[in-house]
């Protein structure tokens, strides 16, 4: 699991308000080289929670990212290279993701997080108003 994925994941256990960012427990980190693509980084930058990325990278043993970042820094190749490395080249291969609110652990094996919930953790929305309000409403109208 790359740190971009980590930045997009949250815990959605029943009752959890925010569920982000998931805390990382590291057993094994891998580094895999990826082609440098500044446009991709510039495009994603506004969507990221920077602090979550900095903390995650540090947990994975990479402490080169600045504590704070703004879009002006995207002009600097040096910054972009570090950003690229943290976001796309570090992989959590073995370990766990921990829900910040409940402490529930989601295992990560062979780089794959298992985010499946137990039955009693699933929010009450299997197919009700919250998950598909529009569809329910539409079905109500269709006849």
């Amino acid at each position: 699991m790359r740190l971009f994925t980590h930045n997009m994941l949250s815990s959605n256990i029943k009752g959890v308000a925010n569920g982000f960012p998931l805390r990382i427990e590291v057993e094994q980190v891998l580094e895999k080289q990826v082609d440098f693509n500044p446009d991709f980084l510039k495009n994603l930058f506004p969507k990221l929670e920077w602090k979550a990325l900095v903390d995650a990278a540090r947990t994975m043993g990479y402490a080169e990212l600045p504590e704070e970042a703004d879009s002006l820094m995207l002009e600097s190749e040096e910054f972009l290279r570090k950003f690229h490395h943290a976001l796309l080249e570090l992989h959590l291969e073995e370990g766990a993701l921990v829900c910040p609110e409940t402490g529930r652990k989601f295992p990560v094996n062979k780089g794959i997080p298992n985010m499946l919930l137990h039955e009693d953790e699933v929010p009450d929305l299997a197919c009700n108003q919250v998950l598909c309000p529009t569809i329910c409403e539409r079905y109500g109208k269709v006849d």
């Binding site: 997009m8 994941l9 982000f20 895999k32 780089g111 298992n114 529009t134 269709v142």
Partner: protein, 257 residues
């Protein structure tokens, strides 16, 4: 040289994981048929929900390949064996994707909203009793509940949430799923749709439908609210011409109710 897709002999397998089948091939054929459009579209993020063996996501990564570099691929499946098999399939083809075992895209919905440029889904679509849906193992590969719609109907709002303004969804449906009604539902959310591939076997007729946001439709939707009939009638005309062989309007008793 024709664009590459995944090779069956390199697709990994497991007894609990859905093997590439007619529906998988039809979906990949649809992606191939639309490939130049996808390339021109320069997607940054592609998501497959229900990746199974990995045949589809590997094919997508291969066919976009060098022409669209730096695409971020994510694939999910509710079956832990499936994501492992997908990893092996991707490795065997020398391509990469982020894999997550989850229900549809449940842990991604908040933060990934509006970021997915291409979403592909070959959902479990076979009509079954509702209590067979989402069981462990291979049954979850096909069990679709009433009219085969129970997982599809949960995926549609997720797609709407995750797709970027320019995002495209490619989804496999069966005639029994009432694809024209799916298109109408999506139309009410502001999506246009088109059948990219249609294939009939003895038992089933598969449609691979592409959905995209169409700003004209959003205007239409407002119109529906104010002027009622005329626009919905138009929508129904255009949909029924796309699905000529279907009994167009089947009243739906969804699991949602």
């Amino acid at each position: 040289m024709p664009p590459k897709t995944a090779q069956i002999r390199l697709v990994s397998s497991h007894r609990e994981v859905y093997e590439p089948c007619d529906d998988s091939f039809a979906l990949v054929d649809a992606l191939l048929a639309d490939r130049t459009n996808i390339v021109d579209h320069c997607p940054r993020l592609c998501l497959e929900v229900g990746c199974g063996s990995g045949y589809v996501i590997a094919s997508l990564a291969l066919m976009l390949g060098q022409e669209v570099p730096g695409v971020y691929y994510i694939a999910t499946d509710i079956n832990p064996h499936a994501v492992s098999v997908t990893r092996e399939t991707l490795d065997a083809h020398g391509v990469d994707a982020e894999l997550i075992c989850m229900d549809i895209a449940s842990g991604l919905e908040k933060r990934l909203a509006g970021m997915v440029d291409v979403m592909v889904v070959n959902p479990p679509y076979v009509p079954t009793p509702d209590d067979e849906v989402g069981r462990e193992g291979i049954a979850s590969a096909w069990a679709g509940g009433e009219n085969g719609r129970s997982v599809i109907d949960r995926i549609l709002p997720v797609a709407d949430r995750l797709l970027s303004d320019e995002g495209w969804l490619y989804m496999v449906t069966l005639t029994t799923n009432d694809p024209s009604q799916i298109c109408l539902l999506m139309r009410k959310k502001g999506y246009a749709s088109r059948i990219v591939v249609q294939r009939s076997t003895d038992e089933e007729s598969l449609h691979i439908i592409k959905f995209w946001r169409d700003s004209d439709i959003q205007l239409d939707t407002k119109e529906i609210i104010t002027t009622t009939k005329s626009v919905s009638a138009r929508v129904m005309d255009s949909l029924s011409s796309q699905f000529p062989q279907l009994p167009f309007w089947r009243s739906s008793n969804s699991n949602c109710l």
